[in-house]
Protein backbone atom coordinates (compact mmCIF):
# COMPACT_ATOMS: atom_id res chain seq x y z
CA UNK A 1 0.00 0.00 0.00
CA UNK A 2 2.65 2.46 1.09
CA UNK A 3 4.71 1.36 -1.86
CA UNK A 4 1.94 2.29 -4.26
CA UNK A 5 1.63 5.74 -2.74
CA UNK A 6 5.35 6.36 -2.94
CA UNK A 7 5.53 5.22 -6.51
CA UNK A 8 2.59 7.34 -7.55
CA UNK A 9 4.08 10.43 -5.98
CA UNK A 10 7.43 9.73 -7.56
CA UNK A 11 6.07 9.15 -11.05
CA UNK A 12 3.91 12.25 -10.99
CA UNK A 13 6.77 14.40 -9.72
CA UNK A 14 9.14 13.21 -12.43
CA UNK A 15 6.47 13.65 -15.06
CA UNK A 16 5.79 17.20 -13.87
CA UNK A 17 9.47 18.10 -13.96
CA UNK A 18 9.97 16.69 -17.46
CA UNK A 19 6.94 18.51 -18.82
CA UNK A 20 7.99 21.75 -17.17
CA UNK A 21 11.37 21.44 -18.84
CA UNK A 22 9.74 20.82 -22.23
CA UNK A 23 7.48 23.84 -21.79
CA UNK A 24 10.43 26.00 -20.83
CA UNK A 25 12.45 24.92 -23.84
CA UNK A 26 9.56 25.47 -26.23
CA UNK A 27 8.85 28.89 -24.77
CA UNK A 28 12.51 29.82 -25.17
CA UNK A 29 12.61 28.59 -28.74
CA UNK A 30 9.53 30.43 -29.90
CA UNK A 31 10.12 33.62 -27.98
CA UNK A 32 9.36 36.71 -30.05
CA UNK A 33 11.34 39.82 -29.35
CA UNK A 34 9.09 42.85 -29.53
CA UNK A 35 9.67 46.53 -29.29
CA UNK A 36 8.63 47.34 -25.70
CA UNK A 37 7.14 50.63 -26.94
CA UNK A 38 4.35 48.66 -28.63
CA UNK A 39 3.08 47.62 -25.22
CA UNK A 40 3.37 51.15 -23.92
CA UNK A 41 1.48 52.62 -26.85
CA UNK A 42 -1.17 49.95 -26.55
CA UNK A 43 -1.64 50.84 -22.90
CA UNK A 44 -2.21 54.46 -23.85
CA UNK A 45 -4.91 53.52 -26.34
CA UNK A 46 -8.62 53.51 -25.47
CA UNK A 47 -8.72 49.72 -25.88
CA UNK A 48 -12.02 49.65 -27.74
CA UNK A 49 -10.54 47.73 -30.68
CA UNK A 50 -13.10 49.47 -32.85
CA UNK A 51 -11.02 49.70 -35.98
CA UNK A 52 -11.81 53.38 -36.42
CA UNK A 53 -8.13 54.11 -37.07
CA UNK A 54 -8.09 51.70 -39.99
CA UNK A 55 -6.20 48.95 -38.15
CA UNK A 56 -7.56 45.67 -36.84
CA UNK A 57 -7.39 46.84 -33.24
CA UNK A 58 -5.49 48.91 -30.73
CA UNK A 59 -2.53 46.51 -30.73
CA UNK A 60 -2.30 46.63 -34.53
CA UNK A 61 -2.42 50.41 -34.36
CA UNK A 62 0.35 50.42 -31.80
CA UNK A 63 2.54 48.19 -33.97
CA UNK A 64 1.94 50.38 -37.00
CA UNK A 65 2.55 53.58 -35.06
CA UNK A 66 5.87 52.29 -33.70
CA UNK A 67 6.99 51.28 -37.18
CA UNK A 68 5.85 54.45 -38.96
CA UNK A 69 8.25 57.40 -39.31
CA UNK A 70 5.63 59.88 -38.06
CA UNK A 71 2.05 59.95 -36.91
CA UNK A 72 0.56 61.65 -39.96
CA UNK A 73 -1.33 58.60 -41.16
CA UNK A 74 -2.06 57.08 -37.78
CA UNK A 75 -4.72 58.81 -35.77
CA UNK A 76 -7.01 57.35 -33.16
CA UNK A 77 -10.34 59.12 -33.60
CA UNK A 78 -11.74 57.62 -30.43
CA UNK A 79 -8.98 58.76 -28.13
CA UNK A 80 -8.71 62.06 -29.94
CA UNK A 81 -5.99 64.58 -29.35
CA UNK A 82 -5.35 63.58 -25.71
CA UNK A 83 -4.48 60.01 -26.52
CA UNK A 84 -2.47 61.01 -29.57
CA UNK A 85 -0.46 63.43 -27.46
CA UNK A 86 0.40 60.60 -25.08
CA UNK A 87 1.30 58.29 -27.95
CA UNK A 88 3.45 60.98 -29.48
CA UNK A 89 5.22 61.45 -26.17
CA UNK A 90 6.02 57.73 -25.94
CA UNK A 91 7.36 57.59 -29.46
CA UNK A 92 8.94 61.02 -29.50
CA UNK A 93 6.97 62.13 -32.51
CA UNK A 94 5.10 65.32 -33.17
CA UNK A 95 1.36 65.21 -33.34
CA UNK A 96 -0.96 67.42 -35.31
CA UNK A 97 -4.15 68.17 -33.44
CA UNK A 98 -7.32 67.43 -35.33
CA UNK A 99 -10.68 69.06 -34.86
CA UNK A 100 -13.06 66.71 -33.07
CA UNK A 101 -15.66 65.14 -35.31
CA UNK A 102 -19.06 63.60 -34.90
CA UNK A 103 -21.28 61.33 -36.99
CA UNK A 104 -24.10 63.13 -38.78
CA UNK A 105 -27.10 61.38 -40.29
CA UNK A 106 -27.91 63.10 -43.57
CA UNK A 107 -31.46 61.90 -44.05
CA UNK A 108 -34.62 63.31 -42.63
CA UNK A 109 -36.92 60.87 -44.39
CA UNK A 110 -39.12 60.13 -41.42
CA UNK A 111 -42.23 58.02 -41.83
CA UNK A 112 -44.18 61.26 -42.10
CA UNK A 113 -41.93 63.00 -44.59
CA UNK A 114 -41.40 59.96 -46.74
CA UNK A 115 -44.46 57.74 -47.16
CA UNK A 116 -43.83 54.03 -47.71
CA UNK A 117 -44.59 52.73 -51.17
CA UNK A 118 -43.85 49.08 -50.51
CA UNK A 119 -43.23 46.60 -47.78
CA UNK A 120 -39.90 44.88 -47.14
CA UNK A 121 -40.01 41.21 -46.20
CA UNK A 122 -36.43 40.05 -45.89
CA UNK A 123 -33.70 39.90 -43.31
CA UNK A 124 -33.43 43.13 -41.32
CA UNK A 125 -30.14 44.32 -42.72
CA UNK A 126 -29.50 47.50 -44.69
CA UNK A 127 -26.77 45.71 -46.61
CA UNK A 128 -29.13 43.01 -47.83
CA UNK A 129 -31.86 45.54 -48.52
CA UNK A 130 -29.57 47.85 -50.45
CA UNK A 131 -28.38 45.01 -52.65
CA UNK A 132 -31.98 44.14 -53.39
CA UNK A 133 -33.60 47.47 -54.15
CA UNK A 134 -33.72 51.15 -53.43
CA UNK A 135 -35.78 50.97 -50.26
CA UNK A 136 -39.40 50.94 -49.30
CA UNK A 137 -40.12 54.57 -50.10
CA UNK A 138 -40.02 56.53 -53.33
CA UNK A 139 -36.56 57.84 -52.45
CA UNK A 140 -33.70 55.83 -53.93
CA UNK A 141 -31.05 57.46 -51.77
CA UNK A 142 -32.37 57.70 -48.24
CA UNK A 143 -32.07 55.73 -45.05
CA UNK A 144 -33.21 52.09 -45.28
CA UNK A 145 -34.01 51.97 -41.59
CA UNK A 146 -32.72 48.49 -40.74
CA UNK A 147 -30.16 49.81 -38.30
CA UNK A 148 -26.87 48.42 -39.62
CA UNK A 149 -25.26 51.62 -38.31
CA UNK A 150 -26.67 51.16 -34.83
CA UNK A 151 -25.47 47.55 -34.82
CA UNK A 152 -22.01 48.64 -35.95
CA UNK A 153 -21.62 51.24 -33.20
CA UNK A 154 -19.55 49.87 -30.33
CA UNK A 155 -20.08 52.87 -28.14
CA UNK A 156 -23.87 52.80 -27.98
CA UNK A 157 -23.98 56.21 -29.62
CA UNK A 158 -26.38 55.28 -32.37
CA UNK A 159 -29.92 54.07 -31.89
CA UNK A 160 -32.90 53.69 -34.17
CA UNK A 161 -35.79 56.00 -33.41
CA UNK A 162 -38.81 53.76 -33.81
CA UNK A 163 -41.11 56.65 -34.50
CA UNK A 164 -39.15 58.24 -37.34
CA UNK A 165 -37.43 55.05 -38.47
CA UNK A 166 -34.12 56.93 -38.60
CA UNK A 167 -30.92 56.55 -36.61
CA UNK A 168 -30.17 59.11 -33.91
CA UNK A 169 -26.64 60.02 -32.86
CA UNK A 170 -25.89 60.59 -29.20
CA UNK A 171 -23.22 63.25 -29.54
CA UNK A 172 -21.88 62.72 -26.06
CA UNK A 173 -21.12 59.07 -26.78
CA UNK A 174 -20.03 59.36 -30.42
CA UNK A 175 -16.28 58.94 -30.80
CA UNK A 176 -16.20 59.50 -34.56
CA UNK A 177 -14.64 56.08 -35.11
CA UNK A 178 -16.43 55.89 -38.45
CA UNK A 179 -17.84 52.37 -38.04
CA UNK A 180 -21.33 53.59 -38.90
CA UNK A 181 -20.05 55.44 -41.96
CA UNK A 182 -18.62 52.17 -43.24
CA UNK A 183 -21.73 50.20 -42.30
CA UNK A 184 -24.18 52.44 -44.14
CA UNK A 185 -24.64 51.13 -47.69
CA UNK A 186 -26.36 54.36 -48.70
CA UNK A 187 -23.48 56.59 -47.52
CA UNK A 188 -25.83 58.75 -45.53
CA UNK A 189 -23.73 59.08 -42.41
CA UNK A 190 -20.83 61.48 -42.58
CA UNK A 191 -18.16 62.48 -40.07
CA UNK A 192 -18.29 66.24 -39.73
CA UNK A 193 -16.36 68.63 -37.55
CA UNK A 194 -18.20 69.09 -34.31
CA UNK A 195 -17.99 72.85 -34.69
CA UNK A 196 -17.68 75.53 -32.03
CA UNK A 197 -19.75 74.44 -29.01
CA UNK A 198 -21.14 71.69 -31.21
CA UNK A 199 -22.83 74.15 -33.54
CA UNK A 200 -22.95 72.99 -37.13
CA UNK A 201 -24.99 73.35 -40.24
CA UNK A 202 -25.56 70.53 -42.74
CA UNK A 203 -27.83 69.37 -45.53
CA UNK A 204 -29.84 66.48 -44.19
CA UNK A 205 -30.43 64.81 -47.53
CA UNK A 206 -28.40 62.91 -50.12
CA UNK A 207 -31.02 62.67 -52.89
CA UNK A 208 -29.66 63.31 -56.38
CA UNK A 209 -33.06 63.20 -58.07
CA UNK A 210 -34.46 66.22 -59.84
CA UNK A 211 -36.68 68.49 -57.79
CA UNK A 212 -40.14 67.15 -58.63
CA UNK A 213 -39.05 63.50 -58.25
CA UNK A 214 -37.31 64.16 -54.96
CA UNK A 215 -40.18 66.26 -53.65
CA UNK A 216 -42.69 63.56 -54.53
CA UNK A 217 -40.69 60.94 -52.67
CA UNK A 218 -39.96 62.95 -49.54
CA UNK A 219 -41.26 66.19 -48.10
CA UNK A 220 -37.91 66.99 -46.50
CA UNK A 221 -35.74 66.29 -49.54
CA UNK A 222 -33.20 68.64 -51.02
CA UNK A 223 -34.91 69.46 -54.29
CA UNK A 224 -31.86 71.04 -55.84
CA UNK A 225 -33.43 74.47 -56.19
CA UNK A 226 -30.11 76.15 -55.48
CA UNK A 227 -31.51 78.97 -53.39
CA UNK A 228 -29.06 78.22 -50.58
CA UNK A 229 -26.23 78.29 -53.09
CA UNK A 230 -27.29 81.73 -54.29
CA UNK A 231 -27.83 83.02 -50.78
CA UNK A 232 -24.56 81.90 -49.19
CA UNK A 233 -22.03 84.71 -49.22
CA UNK A 234 -19.21 82.50 -47.86
CA UNK A 235 -19.09 80.12 -50.80
CA UNK A 236 -19.61 77.23 -48.40
CA UNK A 237 -22.27 75.48 -50.45
CA UNK A 238 -21.24 72.98 -53.08
CA UNK A 239 -24.01 72.31 -55.54
CA UNK A 240 -23.80 69.16 -57.63
CA UNK A 241 -26.24 66.63 -59.16
CA UNK A 242 -29.32 68.40 -57.82
CA UNK A 243 -27.93 68.31 -54.31
CA UNK A 244 -26.47 70.92 -52.01
CA UNK A 245 -23.61 70.13 -49.64
CA UNK A 246 -22.16 72.41 -47.01
CA UNK A 247 -18.39 72.53 -46.78
CA UNK A 248 -17.74 72.86 -43.06
CA UNK A 249 -14.38 74.42 -43.58
CA UNK A 250 -16.03 77.44 -45.15
CA UNK A 251 -19.34 77.58 -43.30
CA UNK A 252 -19.60 80.58 -40.97
CA UNK A 253 -22.75 79.32 -39.27
CA UNK A 254 -24.80 82.33 -40.36
CA UNK A 255 -27.83 80.07 -40.83
CA UNK A 256 -29.06 81.98 -43.87
CA UNK A 257 -29.21 78.81 -46.01
CA UNK A 258 -31.28 77.13 -43.34
CA UNK A 259 -33.74 80.00 -43.36
CA UNK A 260 -34.22 80.09 -47.11
CA UNK A 261 -34.43 76.32 -47.74
CA UNK A 262 -37.98 75.68 -48.97
CA UNK A 263 -38.15 72.07 -47.78
CA UNK A 264 -36.26 72.36 -44.52
CA UNK A 265 -33.55 70.04 -45.76
CA UNK A 266 -30.82 72.14 -44.14
CA UNK A 267 -30.40 71.57 -40.44
CA UNK A 268 -28.57 73.58 -37.82
CA UNK A 269 -27.88 71.94 -34.47
CA UNK A 270 -26.79 73.03 -31.02
CA UNK A 271 -27.42 76.71 -31.69
CA UNK A 272 -28.32 78.58 -28.50
CA UNK A 273 -31.40 80.18 -30.01
CA UNK A 274 -33.99 78.68 -32.35
CA UNK A 275 -33.77 80.03 -35.86
CA UNK A 276 -35.91 83.12 -36.47
CA UNK A 277 -36.53 82.62 -40.16
CA UNK A 278 -38.26 85.92 -40.77
CA UNK A 279 -35.46 87.91 -39.17
CA UNK A 280 -32.81 86.15 -41.20
CA UNK A 281 -34.85 86.51 -44.37
CA UNK A 282 -35.29 90.19 -43.67
CA UNK A 283 -31.55 90.47 -43.20
CA UNK A 284 -30.93 88.78 -46.53
CA UNK A 285 -33.51 90.99 -48.24
CA UNK A 286 -31.85 94.06 -46.79
CA UNK A 287 -28.46 92.97 -47.96
CA UNK A 288 -29.78 92.25 -51.42
CA UNK A 289 -31.50 95.61 -51.55
CA UNK A 290 -28.29 97.31 -50.57
CA UNK A 291 -26.36 95.32 -53.13
CA UNK A 292 -28.91 96.24 -55.78
CA UNK A 293 -28.69 99.89 -54.76
CA UNK A 294 -24.95 99.72 -54.85
CA UNK A 295 -25.10 98.18 -58.29
CA UNK A 296 -27.54 100.84 -59.40
CA UNK A 297 -25.22 103.52 -58.06
CA UNK A 298 -22.22 102.05 -59.76
CA UNK A 299 -23.91 101.57 -63.09
CA UNK A 300 -24.59 105.18 -64.08
CA UNK A 301 -20.99 105.99 -63.31
CA UNK A 302 -19.88 103.23 -65.63
CA UNK A 303 -22.13 104.46 -68.42
CA UNK A 304 -20.82 107.97 -68.00
CA UNK A 305 -17.29 106.88 -68.40
CA UNK A 306 -18.23 104.70 -71.31
Amino acid sequence: MVNIIIWTVAVITVLGLVLALVLYLVAEKFKVVEDPRIDEVEKAMPGANCGGCGFAGCRAFAEAAVKAPDLDNNYCPVGGNDVMARVAAILGYEVKAKAPQVAVVRCNGTCQNRPKTNDYDGVASCKVKAALYSGDTGCSYGCLGCGDCAAACQFGALSMDLETGLPVVDEAKCTACGACVKACPKHIIELRNKGPRGMREFVSCVNHDKGPVAKKACAAACIGCGICFKTCIHGAIVFENNLAYIDYAKCKLCRECEAVCPTGAIHGVNFPKPLDKDAVKARIAERKKKAAEAAAEVKPVETKEA
Binding site: K116, T117, N118, D119, Y120, D121, G122, V123, V128, A131, L132, Y133, D136
Partner: protein, 325 residues
Protein backbone atom coordinates in the same frame (compact mmCIF):
# COMPACT_ATOMS: atom_id res chain seq x y z
CA UNK B 1 -53.45 45.94 -53.63
CA UNK B 2 -51.86 48.50 -51.36
CA UNK B 3 -48.13 48.17 -50.82
CA UNK B 4 -46.10 45.74 -52.86
CA UNK B 5 -44.11 43.24 -50.87
CA UNK B 6 -40.42 43.20 -51.71
CA UNK B 7 -38.01 40.55 -50.51
CA UNK B 8 -34.93 38.75 -51.75
CA UNK B 9 -35.53 35.52 -53.68
CA UNK B 10 -36.82 32.83 -53.35
CA UNK B 11 -40.39 33.97 -53.13
CA UNK B 12 -42.00 30.63 -52.37
CA UNK B 13 -41.21 28.28 -49.53
CA UNK B 14 -41.80 24.63 -48.80
CA UNK B 15 -44.59 23.85 -46.38
CA UNK B 16 -42.26 22.31 -43.82
CA UNK B 17 -41.87 23.99 -40.49
CA UNK B 18 -40.31 22.86 -37.24
CA UNK B 19 -43.81 22.30 -35.95
CA UNK B 20 -44.94 20.22 -38.92
CA UNK B 21 -41.82 18.05 -38.67
CA UNK B 22 -42.34 17.48 -34.95
CA UNK B 23 -46.00 16.72 -35.58
CA UNK B 24 -44.92 14.07 -38.06
CA UNK B 25 -42.69 12.52 -35.41
CA UNK B 26 -45.61 12.49 -32.97
CA UNK B 27 -47.80 10.82 -35.58
CA UNK B 28 -45.07 8.28 -36.28
CA UNK B 29 -44.88 7.45 -32.58
CA UNK B 30 -48.63 6.97 -32.22
CA UNK B 31 -48.74 3.26 -33.17
CA UNK B 32 -46.11 2.48 -30.57
CA UNK B 33 -47.90 4.63 -28.00
CA UNK B 34 -51.22 2.89 -28.67
CA UNK B 35 -49.53 -0.50 -28.45
CA UNK B 36 -48.01 0.38 -25.13
CA UNK B 37 -51.43 1.53 -23.88
CA UNK B 38 -53.00 -1.75 -24.90
CA UNK B 39 -50.26 -3.89 -23.41
CA UNK B 40 -49.63 -1.98 -20.21
CA UNK B 41 -52.99 -0.45 -19.45
CA UNK B 42 -53.87 2.54 -17.30
CA UNK B 43 -50.50 2.85 -15.65
CA UNK B 44 -48.90 3.54 -19.00
CA UNK B 45 -51.59 6.05 -19.98
CA UNK B 46 -51.03 7.94 -16.74
CA UNK B 47 -47.28 7.81 -17.25
CA UNK B 48 -47.60 9.21 -20.76
CA UNK B 49 -49.84 12.04 -19.60
CA UNK B 50 -47.49 12.99 -16.76
CA UNK B 51 -44.44 12.81 -19.00
CA UNK B 52 -45.82 14.87 -21.90
CA UNK B 53 -47.64 17.25 -19.57
CA UNK B 54 -44.63 17.96 -17.42
CA UNK B 55 -42.29 18.37 -20.40
CA UNK B 56 -44.59 20.94 -22.01
CA UNK B 57 -45.34 22.72 -18.76
CA UNK B 58 -41.70 22.88 -17.71
CA UNK B 59 -40.61 24.22 -21.08
CA UNK B 60 -43.31 26.86 -20.96
CA UNK B 61 -42.46 27.90 -17.42
CA UNK B 62 -38.70 27.99 -17.91
CA UNK B 63 -38.78 29.91 -21.20
CA UNK B 64 -41.27 32.39 -19.81
CA UNK B 65 -39.99 33.02 -16.30
CA UNK B 66 -36.32 32.06 -16.30
CA UNK B 67 -35.16 32.76 -19.83
CA UNK B 68 -37.71 35.51 -20.42
CA UNK B 69 -38.09 34.60 -24.04
CA UNK B 70 -41.12 33.84 -26.16
CA UNK B 71 -42.39 30.38 -25.36
CA UNK B 72 -41.26 27.60 -27.70
CA UNK B 73 -43.82 24.95 -26.76
CA UNK B 74 -45.60 25.65 -30.04
CA UNK B 75 -42.92 23.76 -31.96
CA UNK B 76 -44.08 20.49 -30.30
CA UNK B 77 -40.54 19.38 -29.54
CA UNK B 78 -41.43 19.13 -25.85
CA UNK B 79 -44.28 16.78 -26.75
CA UNK B 80 -41.88 14.56 -28.66
CA UNK B 81 -39.46 14.54 -25.73
CA UNK B 82 -42.32 13.66 -23.37
CA UNK B 83 -43.54 10.76 -25.48
CA UNK B 84 -40.05 9.37 -25.99
CA UNK B 85 -39.29 9.62 -22.29
CA UNK B 86 -42.47 7.77 -21.36
CA UNK B 87 -41.71 5.08 -23.91
CA UNK B 88 -38.25 4.69 -22.40
CA UNK B 89 -39.18 3.76 -18.84
CA UNK B 90 -41.02 0.74 -17.43
CA UNK B 91 -44.73 1.30 -16.99
CA UNK B 92 -44.41 0.63 -13.30
CA UNK B 93 -42.31 3.74 -12.77
CA UNK B 94 -43.98 6.09 -10.27
CA UNK B 95 -45.24 9.37 -11.69
CA UNK B 96 -42.86 11.50 -9.65
CA UNK B 97 -39.86 9.65 -11.03
CA UNK B 98 -40.92 10.43 -14.58
CA UNK B 99 -41.49 14.03 -13.55
CA UNK B 100 -37.86 14.20 -12.45
CA UNK B 101 -36.92 12.62 -15.77
CA UNK B 102 -38.87 15.32 -17.60
CA UNK B 103 -37.20 18.00 -15.51
CA UNK B 104 -33.74 16.71 -16.40
CA UNK B 105 -34.66 16.19 -20.05
CA UNK B 106 -36.24 19.55 -20.70
CA UNK B 107 -34.52 21.88 -18.28
CA UNK B 108 -31.01 20.48 -18.11
CA UNK B 109 -30.51 18.61 -21.37
CA UNK B 110 -32.34 21.07 -23.59
CA UNK B 111 -33.06 24.52 -22.21
CA UNK B 112 -29.81 25.01 -20.32
CA UNK B 113 -28.04 24.68 -23.68
CA UNK B 114 -30.26 27.38 -25.14
CA UNK B 115 -33.28 25.39 -26.27
CA UNK B 116 -34.16 23.31 -29.27
CA UNK B 117 -31.34 23.19 -31.76
CA UNK B 118 -28.59 23.99 -29.27
CA UNK B 119 -28.57 20.84 -27.17
CA UNK B 120 -25.77 18.35 -27.61
CA UNK B 121 -27.56 15.26 -26.31
CA UNK B 122 -30.98 13.90 -27.02
CA UNK B 123 -33.08 15.29 -24.14
CA UNK B 124 -35.27 12.22 -23.67
CA UNK B 125 -32.24 9.98 -23.49
CA UNK B 126 -30.48 12.20 -20.97
CA UNK B 127 -33.65 12.06 -18.87
CA UNK B 128 -33.77 8.33 -19.18
CA UNK B 129 -30.13 7.73 -18.32
CA UNK B 130 -30.41 10.11 -15.39
CA UNK B 131 -33.30 8.04 -14.04
CA UNK B 132 -31.45 4.82 -14.76
CA UNK B 133 -28.49 5.78 -12.60
CA UNK B 134 -30.52 7.62 -9.95
CA UNK B 135 -33.41 5.19 -9.51
CA UNK B 136 -32.03 1.82 -10.64
CA UNK B 137 -34.70 -0.10 -8.72
CA UNK B 138 -37.60 1.49 -10.52
CA UNK B 139 -35.84 1.54 -13.83
CA UNK B 140 -34.75 -2.10 -13.87
CA UNK B 141 -37.78 -3.77 -12.37
CA UNK B 142 -39.38 -4.83 -15.57
CA UNK B 143 -42.83 -6.27 -15.57
CA UNK B 144 -44.50 -8.66 -17.89
CA UNK B 145 -47.15 -6.80 -19.84
CA UNK B 146 -50.43 -6.97 -18.07
CA UNK B 147 -52.75 -5.55 -20.70
CA UNK B 148 -55.25 -2.74 -20.66
CA UNK B 149 -57.93 -4.98 -19.23
CA UNK B 150 -55.88 -7.68 -17.62
CA UNK B 151 -54.67 -8.15 -14.07
CA UNK B 152 -51.84 -10.17 -12.54
CA UNK B 153 -48.72 -8.20 -13.14
CA UNK B 154 -45.76 -10.52 -13.28
CA UNK B 155 -42.49 -8.99 -12.33
CA UNK B 156 -39.52 -10.19 -14.31
CA UNK B 157 -36.56 -9.07 -16.29
CA UNK B 158 -36.12 -8.18 -19.94
CA UNK B 159 -34.68 -10.81 -22.25
CA UNK B 160 -31.40 -8.91 -22.30
CA UNK B 161 -31.40 -8.73 -18.51
CA UNK B 162 -32.24 -12.42 -18.14
CA UNK B 163 -29.45 -13.42 -20.46
CA UNK B 164 -26.86 -11.10 -18.91
CA UNK B 165 -27.74 -12.47 -15.49
CA UNK B 166 -27.74 -16.03 -16.77
CA UNK B 167 -24.37 -15.78 -18.45
CA UNK B 168 -22.84 -14.29 -15.35
CA UNK B 169 -24.11 -17.28 -13.46
CA UNK B 170 -22.49 -19.60 -15.98
CA UNK B 171 -25.40 -20.66 -18.17
CA UNK B 172 -25.07 -20.78 -21.95
CA UNK B 173 -27.02 -18.60 -24.34
CA UNK B 174 -28.74 -21.60 -25.89
CA UNK B 175 -30.19 -22.66 -22.56
CA UNK B 176 -31.45 -19.19 -21.82
CA UNK B 177 -32.83 -18.52 -25.28
CA UNK B 178 -35.27 -21.41 -25.02
CA UNK B 179 -37.91 -19.25 -23.36
CA UNK B 180 -38.09 -16.63 -26.14
CA UNK B 181 -39.22 -16.76 -29.74
CA UNK B 182 -38.42 -14.17 -32.41
CA UNK B 183 -42.05 -13.68 -33.37
CA UNK B 184 -42.81 -12.87 -29.75
CA UNK B 185 -40.20 -10.12 -29.88
CA UNK B 186 -41.45 -8.76 -33.18
CA UNK B 187 -45.07 -8.56 -32.17
CA UNK B 188 -44.61 -7.53 -28.58
CA UNK B 189 -45.18 -9.01 -25.21
CA UNK B 190 -41.77 -9.26 -23.71
CA UNK B 191 -40.81 -7.56 -20.56
CA UNK B 192 -39.25 -4.18 -21.10
CA UNK B 193 -39.87 -0.50 -21.04
CA UNK B 194 -42.99 0.66 -22.80
CA UNK B 195 -41.33 1.51 -26.07
CA UNK B 196 -39.47 -1.75 -26.32
CA UNK B 197 -42.50 -3.94 -26.59
CA UNK B 198 -43.71 -3.78 -30.14
CA UNK B 199 -41.08 -3.68 -32.84
CA UNK B 200 -43.62 -3.67 -35.65
CA UNK B 201 -45.42 -0.57 -34.38
CA UNK B 202 -42.11 1.26 -34.14
CA UNK B 203 -41.06 0.19 -37.62
CA UNK B 204 -44.41 1.35 -39.00
CA UNK B 205 -43.72 4.78 -37.54
CA UNK B 206 -40.23 4.73 -39.04
CA UNK B 207 -41.62 3.95 -42.48
CA UNK B 208 -44.09 6.83 -42.07
CA UNK B 209 -41.22 9.23 -41.32
CA UNK B 210 -39.35 8.00 -44.37
CA UNK B 211 -42.38 8.44 -46.62
CA UNK B 212 -42.93 11.95 -45.33
CA UNK B 213 -39.23 12.65 -45.98
CA UNK B 214 -38.81 13.81 -42.41
CA UNK B 215 -35.71 11.69 -41.95
CA UNK B 216 -33.38 9.77 -44.17
CA UNK B 217 -32.86 6.05 -43.57
CA UNK B 218 -29.07 5.99 -43.42
CA UNK B 219 -28.53 6.45 -39.70
CA UNK B 220 -31.08 3.82 -38.74
CA UNK B 221 -29.94 1.32 -41.34
CA UNK B 222 -26.30 1.72 -40.43
CA UNK B 223 -27.14 1.11 -36.76
CA UNK B 224 -28.97 -2.08 -37.67
CA UNK B 225 -26.15 -3.10 -39.98
CA UNK B 226 -23.46 -2.45 -37.39
CA UNK B 227 -25.36 -4.29 -34.66
CA UNK B 228 -25.96 -7.26 -36.93
CA UNK B 229 -22.38 -7.40 -38.16
CA UNK B 230 -20.71 -6.94 -34.78
CA UNK B 231 -22.89 -9.51 -33.07
CA UNK B 232 -22.52 -11.89 -36.01
CA UNK B 233 -18.76 -11.85 -35.56
CA UNK B 234 -18.89 -12.50 -31.82
CA UNK B 235 -21.71 -15.03 -32.08
CA UNK B 236 -19.86 -16.81 -34.85
CA UNK B 237 -16.77 -17.11 -32.66
CA UNK B 238 -18.50 -18.17 -29.47
CA UNK B 239 -22.23 -18.92 -29.77
CA UNK B 240 -22.49 -20.10 -26.16
CA UNK B 241 -21.18 -16.86 -24.75
CA UNK B 242 -22.73 -14.31 -27.11
CA UNK B 243 -26.30 -13.80 -28.31
CA UNK B 244 -27.15 -14.01 -32.01
CA UNK B 245 -27.68 -11.02 -34.37
CA UNK B 246 -31.47 -11.42 -34.75
CA UNK B 247 -31.92 -11.43 -31.00
CA UNK B 248 -29.77 -8.34 -30.70
CA UNK B 249 -31.76 -6.52 -33.38
CA UNK B 250 -35.16 -7.31 -31.94
CA UNK B 251 -34.65 -6.87 -28.23
CA UNK B 252 -34.23 -3.92 -25.99
CA UNK B 253 -34.59 -0.36 -27.08
CA UNK B 254 -32.63 -0.80 -30.28
CA UNK B 255 -35.50 -0.19 -32.67
CA UNK B 256 -36.89 2.72 -30.69
CA UNK B 257 -33.41 4.17 -30.37
CA UNK B 258 -32.38 3.64 -33.97
CA UNK B 259 -35.62 4.89 -35.49
CA UNK B 260 -36.52 7.79 -33.23
CA UNK B 261 -33.69 8.78 -30.92
CA UNK B 262 -30.58 8.50 -33.06
CA UNK B 263 -32.35 10.24 -35.94
CA UNK B 264 -33.14 13.31 -33.85
CA UNK B 265 -32.17 16.24 -36.07
CA UNK B 266 -30.41 18.28 -33.46
CA UNK B 267 -28.12 15.60 -32.14
CA UNK B 268 -27.24 13.73 -35.32
CA UNK B 269 -24.74 14.69 -38.04
CA UNK B 270 -25.87 16.80 -40.98
CA UNK B 271 -24.36 14.89 -43.85
CA UNK B 272 -25.23 11.38 -45.04
CA UNK B 273 -21.62 10.27 -44.69
CA UNK B 274 -21.46 11.58 -41.14
CA UNK B 275 -24.79 9.88 -40.42
CA UNK B 276 -23.46 6.51 -41.50
CA UNK B 277 -20.36 6.84 -39.33
CA UNK B 278 -22.61 7.96 -36.48
CA UNK B 279 -24.91 4.97 -36.96
CA UNK B 280 -22.07 2.47 -37.19
CA UNK B 281 -20.62 3.92 -33.99
CA UNK B 282 -23.92 3.52 -32.17
CA UNK B 283 -24.44 -0.02 -33.40
CA UNK B 284 -20.94 -1.11 -32.45
CA UNK B 285 -21.05 0.53 -29.02
CA UNK B 286 -24.49 -0.93 -28.32
CA UNK B 287 -23.31 -4.47 -28.88
CA UNK B 288 -20.10 -3.87 -26.93
CA UNK B 289 -22.04 -2.58 -23.95
CA UNK B 290 -24.51 -5.43 -24.16
CA UNK B 291 -21.76 -8.06 -24.30
CA UNK B 292 -19.18 -6.60 -21.97
CA UNK B 293 -20.78 -3.76 -20.02
CA UNK B 294 -22.33 -3.97 -16.61
CA UNK B 295 -25.73 -2.86 -17.88
CA UNK B 296 -27.78 -5.31 -19.91
CA UNK B 297 -28.82 -2.60 -22.39
CA UNK B 298 -26.51 -0.19 -24.17
CA UNK B 299 -28.51 1.72 -26.79
CA UNK B 300 -29.04 4.83 -24.67
CA UNK B 301 -25.40 5.05 -23.70
CA UNK B 302 -24.24 4.37 -27.22
CA UNK B 303 -26.42 7.13 -28.66
CA UNK B 304 -25.35 9.63 -26.01
CA UNK B 305 -21.68 8.81 -26.57
CA UNK B 306 -22.06 9.27 -30.32
CA UNK B 307 -24.11 12.46 -29.77
CA UNK B 308 -21.05 13.97 -28.14
CA UNK B 309 -18.88 13.45 -31.21
CA UNK B 310 -21.42 14.86 -33.66
CA UNK B 311 -19.66 18.25 -33.93
CA UNK B 312 -16.50 16.40 -34.94
CA UNK B 313 -18.39 14.24 -37.43
CA UNK B 314 -19.93 17.40 -38.90
CA UNK B 315 -16.46 18.79 -39.35
CA UNK B 316 -14.85 15.67 -40.78
CA UNK B 317 -17.54 14.23 -42.97
CA UNK B 318 -18.84 16.82 -45.33
CA UNK B 319 -20.81 16.40 -48.45
CA UNK B 320 -18.81 16.54 -51.65
CA UNK B 321 -18.96 20.03 -53.04
CA UNK B 322 -19.94 20.51 -56.66
CA UNK B 323 -16.94 20.53 -58.97
CA UNK B 324 -14.42 20.10 -56.16
CA UNK B 325 -12.38 17.15 -55.10
Amino acid sequence: MNKLLVSPSPHIHSKDSTKSLMLDVVIALLPAVLCSFVFYGWNEILLMLVSVGSCVLLEWAVTKYLMKKPSTIGDLSAVVTGILLALNVPYTTPWWVIFIGALVAVCIAKLSFGGLGQNIWNPALVGRVFLLVSFPTYMTTWSQPQGLFGADAVTGATPLGVIKEGIMQGATVQDLMGQYSYSQMLFANLGGSAGEVCALALLAGFVYLLCRRVIKPWITLSIFGAVALTSLIFWGIHPARFTDPVFNLLTGGLILGACFMATDYVTSPMSTKGGIVFGVGIGFLTVMIRYFGSYPEGVSFAILIMNSVVPLLNMWFKQKKFGRK
